[in-house]
C-alpha cells in the first residue's frame, strides 16, 4: 500500500513538472522581441541570421520546437545560454549547489530560531514576556525577506561590520574544490579556515531567508504547544512531578510538531523563492542571482532551464513534506 501511494505521488510530481515545462515553453514563445536580434553582430547578412535562428531551433513550428526541446531536456541538454554562450546544464549545475547550501542552512536556522522562541513563549505564558513576544512576532511577520536582507546589510555590514557583505568565499582563500558544494566539502576536508570563511559569507543571506520563516514557525508552533499544554496527558505528566521545561520539550512538543511541520514545508518553498532576491542583494553566486540576469538579458534557454530547476525543487520539497507527514502520522499512511 505504501509503495503504491509513493508511486502515485511520484507520478503526480512528474505530471506537474511536465505541466511546468509546457507553461514555461508556451509563455516564453510569446515573448515579444527576438532574442536573436541582440546577438547579431553589426553587418551580419540575412543568411547569417537564418543560420543563427536554425542553430537555436527558432525556425521550426511551435509544437516541433517543444518536441525537440523536451526531448533534449530529458537527456539533460538544456541548450546554450544566449548571453553567457555556455551550456545551460553546466551553468545550472555549477550554480545550484550554492543555492541549495544557502536554502538548507536557512531552513535549519529558521527551525531553530522559530522553535526556540515558540518554546520560550510557551514557558513564559501568563508572564509579561508572553504578550511582548506575541506583539514583536506579530510585527515581524509583516517583514519580507527583501527588507530583512537590507536591514541586515545596514546592521551587520555597516554599523557592526562583522560579516562580509557579498560573495560566497574570499577569493584569496580558494582551494581547488572537487565539488561545487563548498561549505560541505570544506567541512569534510577539515579545512576549518575555509569553512568559517564560507559560513561568514552566508550569515546575512541565511538570516534574511530564515527570519520570515522563523516568525511563521513561532506563531504556529506556539499555538499548538499552548493547546497541547492543557491536554490530559500533560496534566498527568505534571502530576507525576515532571518539570515545566521537560513537559514542554518532551510531552507537548512531540504532539505539536505535526501541524508545524506541514506548514514549514509549504513555507520552505517560499524561502527557496526568496533566494532569487536575497542572492542578488548579497551578490551570492547561486541560481537565484542568475535568474535575474537571465531575465534582464532575455536569455530564453537559460530562463527555461532555471524555471525548470526551480520547479523541480518545489516539487521535490512538496513530495518530501507529503512523505514525511505520512511517515510521522500513522493515520495518513494508508490514505
Amino acid at each position: 500500500m505504501i509503495a503504491i501511494s509513493i508511486l502515485n505521488r511520484l507520478i503526480m510530481a512528474a505530471v506537474t513538472l511536465f505541466g511546468v515545462a509546457l507553461i514555461v515553453f508556451v509563455l516564453l514563445r510569446v515573448v515579444p522581441g527576438d532574442p536573436i536580434a541582440m546577438m547579431i553582430a553589426p553587418g551580419a547578412s540575412p543568411a547569417d541570421i537564418l543560420a543563427l535562428r536554425a542553430r537555436y531551433g527558432l525556425d521550426l513550428s511551435l509544437p516541433a520546437q517543444f518536441g525537440v526541446w523536451l526531448q533534449a531536456v530529458v537527456i539533460g541538454d538544456f541548450g546554450t545560454s544566449i548571453s553567457l554562450r555556455r551550456d545551460v546544464l553546466e551553468l545550472l549545475l555549477g550554480r545550484l549547489p550554492a543555492t541549495l547550501e544557502l536554502a538548507f542552512a536557512a531552513l535549519v536556522v529558521a527551525v531553530l530560531i522559530g522553535g526556540a522562541v515558540a518554546v520560550i513563549g510557551t514557558l513564559s505564558r501568563r508572564t509579561p514576556l508572553e504578550p511582548a513576544i506575541d506583539a514583536t512576532n506579530g510585527v515581524l511577520l509583516a517583514v519580507p525577506d527583501f527588507v530583512w536582507a537590507l536591514a541586515l546589510v545596514l546592521l551587520l555590514g555597516v554599523l557592526f561590520p562583522i560579516f562580509p557583505l557579498s560573495g560566497r568565499i574570499d577569493p584569496t582563500l580558494s582551494i581547488d574544490f572537487a565539488t561545487p558544494f563548498y561549505l560541505a566539502e570544506s567541512l569534510v576536508r577539515l579545512r576549518f579556515d575555509i569553512f568559517l570563511d564560507i559560513a561568514a559569507h552566508m550569515v546575512m543571506p541565511v538570516l534574511a531567508l530564515a527570519l520570515p520563516l522563523a516568525t511563521v514557525i513561532t506563531r504556529i508552533l506556539k499555538e499548538a504547544l499552548l493547546e497541547a499544554m492543557v491536554q490530559d496527558y500533560v496534566l498527568l505528566a505534571r502530576l507525576k512531578g515532571m518539570s515545566e521545561v521537560r513537559l514542554v520539550l518532551q510531552e507537548a512538543l512531540r504532539n505539536a510538531i505535526g501541524p508545524a511541520l506541514s506548514l514549514t514545508g509549504v513555507q520552505f518553498t517560499f524561502l527557496v523563492g526568496g533566494t532569487v532576491i536575497v542572492e542578488r542583494i548579497f551578490s551570492y553566486p547561486g541560481i537565484g542571482n542568475m535568474a535575474i540576469d537571465a531575465v534582464i538579458n532575455r536569455d530564453l534557454p537559460l530562463i527555461q532551464g532555471l524555471v525548470l530547476v526551480f520547479g523541480a525543487i518545489f516539487i521535490v520539497i512538496n513530495l518530501g513534506v507529503d512523505l514525511l507527514a505520512a511517515a510521522l502520522n500513522p493515520r495518513l499512511r494508508h490514505g
Binding site: T16, I23, V147, A291, I303, F310, F314
Partner: protein, 297 residues
C-alpha cells in the same frame, strides 16, 4: 483564556455601535490607516511639498549627509545621492509609483478574483468546479517562478509589474470570496430572499456582495502591502520603471551600491518601505478583526 463573568443590571437596549465607530477604536486601523492616508496626501501633493526637483543633479553637492550630520548642506534634509539629487524629494516622489502600483494592482486583482469567487460560490456546480480547479492549478505554481516568467514575457516597466501582480494574486481574492459567498448563502436572510422569489443574480449583487465588502477591503489592504514590496523588488533589480523615475526600490539599489560611501542612501528608502508595508498589514489585519464578530472577542 477564561473571561471573567460579570453580571450587570439590565439596561434599555441601545443601538449597537456603528461599524465606522468600531473601526476607530481599533489601534491597528488608526495607525495603519493614518499612515496610508498621509502617504496618499504626500503622493498627490509631491510637486508642492518636495523641497527640490527630484531629478535635478548637482555634482558639486553629491553624497551630502543628512541635515543632522557633519558636512550637511542646508535645505537637503536627508542628504543627496552621488549625483547630487535631493533624497527627501526623491522619497516623496517615490511614493507616487509605490501607491500607483499598490492601488491599481490590488484593485484589479480584487475585481477579477471577486467576480470569479462570487460566481463560483453562488452558482456552484460546473461553474464552481472549473473556477476552483483553475485556482488550484494557479496556486500550485510558485509566485517567484511566475513573476520571473511574466516579467520576461512582458518586458520591464511599471505596467508589466502591475500585470504580473494581478495575474499572480487574483487567486487570493477568488478563494476567500468564494468561501465567504458559500457561508453567506447558508444564512436565513438569503433563504428568505429566495423564498420570496428574488432573482438569483439580484440576490448575489444586492444581498451577498455588500456583506462581503468588509472582508474584501481588508484583503485589498493586505494585497497593497504585497504589491508595494513586489514593485520595490522589481525596481531594485531594474525591471520596473526606467531608472530616472524616482522609486523606493531604485533608491534602495543605489543605496546598496554606495553602502560604504553613503549609508543614508539606503536607510531612508528602506525605512519608508518598511513603514508602508507594516501600515498596510496592520490596517488589513485591524480591519479584518473589526469586521469579524468572531475575532472581535
Amino acid at each position: 483564556m477564561a473571561e471573567p463573568i460579570t453580571i450587570t443590571a439590565p439596561t434599555a437596549p441601545t443601538k449597537p455601535p456603528s461599524r465606522f465607530k468600531t473601526l476607530l477604536t481599533e489601534p491597528k486601523v488608526l495607525f495603519g490607516g493614518g499612515f496610508i492616508l498621509l502617504l496618499l496626501v504626500i503622493a498627490i501633493l509631491a510637486p508642492l511639498i518636495a523641497p527640490k526637483d527630484p531629478l535635478e543633479q548637482d555634482l558639486m553637492l553629491g553624497s551630502l549627509p543628512p541635515a543632522w550630520l557633519d558636512g550637511a548642506e542646508p535645505g537637503y534634509y536627508l542628504g543627496t545621492d552621488d549625483l547630487g539629487r535631493d533624497v527627501l524629494s526623491r522619497l516623496l516622489y517615490g511614493s507616487r509609483i509605490a501607491l500607483f502600483v499598490a492601488v491599481s494592482s490590488a484593485s484589479l486583482a480584487a475585481l477579477i478574483g471577486t467576480v470569479l469567487g462570487l460566481l463560483a460560490g453562488w452558482y456552484g456546480g460546473w461553474t464552481d468546479r472549473i473556477i476552483s480547479r483553475i485556482v488550484d492549478i494557479w496556486m500550485a505554481f510558485p509566485p517567484v517562478l511566475l513573476s520571473i516568467l511574466l516579467v520576461a514575457v512582458f518586458g520591464s516597466g511599471v505596467h508589466s509589474v502591475i500585470a504580473a501582480i494581478v495575474i499572480i494574486d487574483w487567486t487570493r481574492f477568488c478563494r476567500v470570496v468564494r468561501a465567504e459567498t458559500l457561508a453567506q448563502a447558508q444564512l436565513d436572510y438569503i433563504t428568505a430572499a429566495r423564498t420570496v422569489g428574488f432573482p438569483r443574480m439580484k440576490i448575489l449583487t444586492r444581498e451577498i456582495f455588500p456583506n462581503i465588502v468588509p472582508v474584501l477591503i481588508a484583503l485589498v489592504s493586505l494585497e497593497m502591502g504585497i504589491a508595494v514590496v513586489v514593485e520595490a523588488i522589481l525596481s531594485f533589480v531594474g525591471l520596473s520603471v526606467s531608472s530616472d523615475t524616482p522609486t523606493w526600490g531604485g533608491m534602495i539599489a543605489q543605496g546598496r551600491q554606495l553602502i560604504h560611501h553613503a549609508w543614508w542612501l539606503l536607510v531612508a528608502p528602506l525605512a519608508v518601505l518598511f513603514a508602508t508595508v507594516l501600515a498596510f498589514n496592520q490596517l488589513g489585519g485591524g480591519l479584518r478583526r473589526a469586521f469579524d464578530p468572531v475575532m472581535r472577542r
